[in-house]
């Protein structure tokens, strides 16, 4: 099968909100843009299938101050005020564009003004696809990127991948690449997240970039048992119960979620959304129709009947770890490589914690905007040369096994899941459980590096399996390094925050994983 050989100024990998904004903004900056997604721009990723709040705050100093201060403590004071201010500005501007350019049908309040604090995923992403098309972006759906290409100097010069529906390999030589591939939820079946397997982080590391905040990777969302619908916010109106109908004391949707995790180790946990008045119930249905799908389709009334719940891993999708950024333009430490959305670390605005979509949605649209604009500038500065540069692939594990053996990707996926999904390992963290889990992940990686391989359309699955293994190792290495509790990272053996560890943790490496304190962290004023 002949390979499809394309050139562009900017290649965007990933078609969630960050990738869509990156592609639109790069195109509007004059770049010739290709966006490749492993699924479909419009339905791919954690946002499209959901509804999301947006960190949208009027440009009024007191309101902005409150917005920035509200979560600094929860995030362990690892966020940065300048980044926050920039994200609030950019998000405000982008939401305006959604209303004016994309004609997004925001609800209208009693005062006649649009309420622009939330977005319905399907509607939002359908309109972003239209906007990308109208901006001239060439879209490759069902075309997972499988590796980055670099030039002779090591600068990122494009990417290679596979077009699943054509069973055809492709490569795009480009002046710059934006990785907007999402976080990693380890194929946990959390809503919309099975496309988020951390692929971009693996590609970035292979090209020489680092991660940051990978210890902030233990997000778990509440879902009705055996379902995918991880809409945690409405559980603030719920009460949780033991199987005998007695109340599970201390359990809650936010601070009490670890109580649920602990209980789930030995019993089923039941729930009823029994603190919602009629008016609230109606508002819930309008705000999140998909929240009710599991109930309506199983004939359960969640407001009056008990139903069993589970917790699904959301890893670095809702966690804040990801590719380390080198500047406000969302560049990385590798020339020509940019990162946005959940693929990038969200620490600059969240530190070590985020709850629901709010900050995550704001981060996706803001970082996507900046990464796209900067990638366009970078490509323009290179001139016409990029398309003619000799390039080489950087992909290792799952693509170029070091031996002739062939290990199926499912084996690697299941082995990694056994180490990262269980609550007692990743959520309820303890050094005595993290260390052996990391040792096992190192073994899984070493074997995968030697033998993991797949052909054709399955190549992307082998790469996703490798990405999950790499992701898990950065997570646990960072979690072991941080011998304290900060943000979402809670250690049972180190339950307190340690003022001496008020820094971000950078990590990286593939065959040998390393961690190091972030040099020269810009600290926020409140941290003192």
């Amino acid at each position: 099968m002949t390979e499809l050989d394309l050139t562009a100024d900017v290649l965007v990998a990933g078609g969630g909100p960050a990738g869509a904004w990156a592609a639109v903004k790069a195109a509007e900056a004059g770049a010739d843009v290709i966006l490749a997604d492993k699924g479909y721009l419009g339905t791919s990723g954690a946002t499209a299938a959901a509804g999301t709040g947006v960190w949208y705050v009027q440009p009024e100093p007191a309101a902005r101050e409150r917005a920035m201060a509200s979560r600094e403590g929860l995030g362990g004071y690892l966020a940065d005020r300048e980044w926050m201010a920039r994200v609030l500005d950019q998000t405000y501007a982008n939401m305006h564009e959604l209303a004016e350019v994309s004609r997004y049908p925001f609800p209208v309040g009693e005062d006649g003004a649009q309420i622009r604090r939330g977005l319905q995923g399907p509607e939002y992403m359908r309109r972003m696809r239209v906007r990308a098309r109208r901006a001239g972006v060439r879209i490759l759906d069902h075309s997972p990127v499988t590796e980055l290409l670099v030039d002779s100097e090591g600068a990122v010069a494009g990417a290679a991948g596979h077009r699943r529906r054509h069973d055809q390999a492709y490569r795009v030589r480009a002046g710059a690449v934006v990785l907007a591939t999402g976080g990693c939820a380890f194929l946990s079946k959390a809503l919309g997240c099975d496309v988020n397997t951390g692929d971009g982080a693996l590609f970035a590391a292979e090209a020489g970039a680092e991660m940051s905040g990978m210890e902030f990777s233990n997000a778990y969302a509440i879902a009705p048992e055996f379902t995918s619908v991880t809409k945690t916010a409405f559980y603030s109106y719920a009460t949780f119960y033991h199987g005998d109908g007695s109340v599970l004391e201390g359990a809650g949707s936010t601070r009490g979620r670890s109580v649920i995790a602990r209980a789930l180790l030995s019993e089923r946990v039941f729930c009823r959304i029994d603190r919602a008045e009629e008016q609230v119930r109606r508002a819930m249905r309008l705000a999140q129709p998909n929240f009710f799908l599991p109930f309506d389709r199983q004939g359960v009334d969640p407001f009056t009947e008990l139903f069993p719940v589970t917790l699904l891993a959301e890893g670095t999708v809702r966690g804040t770890g990801g590719i380390r950024l080198a500047g406000f333009d969302c560049s990385t430490s590798v020339p020509g490589l940019y990162a946005a959305g959940d693929a990038a670390t969200r620490e600059p605005i969240c530190g070590g914690f985020t709850g629901g979509g709010s900050h995550n949605a704001a981060w996706a649209m803001s970082s996507g905007t900046w990464a796209g604009q900067a990638a366009a500038r970078h490509a323009r500065a290179l001139g016409a040369g990029p398309a003619r540069r000799p390039v080489r692939g950087t992909g290792g594990a799952g693509l170029r096994p070091s031996t002739g053996a062939r290990q199926p990707y499912r084996e690697v996926v299941e082995a990694v899941q056994r180490e990262v999904l269980p609550y007692e390992k990743n959520y309820l963290r303890h050094g005595a459980r993290l260390a052996p889990a990391l040792a096992e992940l190192d073994r899984i990686w070493a074997q995968a590096r030697r033998a993991l391989h797949a052909d054709g359309a399955e190549t992307a699955r082998a790469r996703s399996a490798a990405a999950m293994a790499a992701h898990a190792r950065w997570m646990y290495a960072s979690a072991l390094t941080r011998t304290e509790s900060r943000g979402m990272h809670k250690r049972e053996d180190f339950p307190r925050e340690d003022p001496a560890q008020h820094y971000r943790i950078v990590s990286g490496g593939l065959d040998e994983v390393w961690t190091a304190p972030e040099p020269g962290l810009i600290t926020v004023a409140a941290a003192s």
Partner: protein, 123 residues
């Protein structure tokens, strides 16, 4: 997971084949899509949202059912196309986004506010 492609309703438009983010469907020999990779379905309901013929049914269970549900029964209960209807997609419907004003919600870590005009939706 996706359980049903209704042969009776399907108009063979390929929309589900195109939009499924995990590539679950293949075009069948007669144009009606086949559920070719059910285990890849992530139960995200997006195919239902895009199906113009209300021909698909995604069961809320994230694992396959022992037997596909009965199509006539689902239709009778108004469940075929129900998600598309709820989000207001389809000709003549009001977009759900226009009505999506949720209840007051706590900020992360906080308690539910008694009442707030600042209604937001959070995932």
């Amino acid at each position: 997971m996706i359980e049903i492609v209704s042969r009776e309703r399907c108009i063979a438009c390929d929309k589900c084949v195109e939009v499924c983010p995990t590539g679950v469907f293949e075009r069948g020999p007669d144009g009606v899509p086949l559920i070719a990779r059910q285990s890849d379905c992530q139960t995200c309901f997006m195919c239902e949202a895009y199906c113009p013929a209300d021909a698909l049914f995604v069961a809320p269970r994230a694992h396959p059912l022992p037997e596909p549900p009965d199509e006539a029964d689902l239709a009778g209960r108004g469940l075929l196309g129900s998600y598309r209807r709820q989000i207001g997609w389809g000709h003549g419907r009001t977009p759900g986004a226009l009505l999506a004003v949720g209840p007051p919600l706590p900020d992360a870590g906080g308690a539910v506010p008694a009442a707030s005009p600042a209604n937001v939706i959070i995932s």
